[in-house]
Symmetry: C2
Subunit: 111 residues, 2 copies
Amino acid sequence: MAHAKRSEFTEAEQQLAAVAKALSHPARVAIVRLLAARNACVCGELVSELPLSQSTVSQHLKELRAAGLVQGEISGPRTCYCLAPAGWELARRLWGELLAALPPEASSCDC
Amino acid sequence: MAHAKRSEFTEAEQQLAAVAKALSHPARVAIVRLLAARNACVCGELVSELPLSQSTVSQHLKELRAAGLVQGEISGPRTCYCLAPAGWELARRLWGELLAALPPEASSCDC
DNA sequence: AGGGCTTATCGTATGTTTACGATGGCAAAG
DNA sequence: CTTTGCCATCGTAAACATACGATAAGCCCT
């Protein structure tokens, strides 16, 4: 009966939550940063840069890809990953909308 | 043995992941938006605005507070919640840093 | 075809999240 | 002092996430 109420929220809320979820693990943030740093694609280099096993990295990549933040191309025997511009565009927009809805500045609590 | 590798990542990566985790559920995004909309504080109004039970909402609020995105003050018999500017400032900064590290524009994959 | 490398997936163990009802504490009202 | 109302926490059940090793799948080279 748990995890069953997600459908009762806004589309935007669910999308933003999905993006946030994809980045809700340090390993995935690290992967994104690595991909951004090389700006080009990397494959199993990620594994050697991270303190995680190959299968775990692969699993994180799968989630990032499912969230639309990363795309991968099979290039010969290895797989080439890179950031997916469309996904980041959406993420940027959603996050921007949320921030825009926030109170202007340090207008904290007035209760 | 699971969930034990989090300490092997950057401070910034962990912080960003924590913020993302706090927003990784539609209900919490919805709560943030409600708090932003009323710009002031609300209490159990949240419960009546959300398709969730009181205890569940309280639990989500606890997580948002733990992440530093929301602060609550006990005001008489009810509790008054509002967004925590400091937490959002940090979130804004971390997210901005990540976006800044991304490839300039639609410079997708070049493999 | 076969050997070797890289990556994905499977199976599995353990921890975390999510949700709810029920219980308890605390302040204002009576 | 008791009652009322609000909120947090406890207890619990089911689902999900995380990590790893092991196994399969795919491509390249000889």
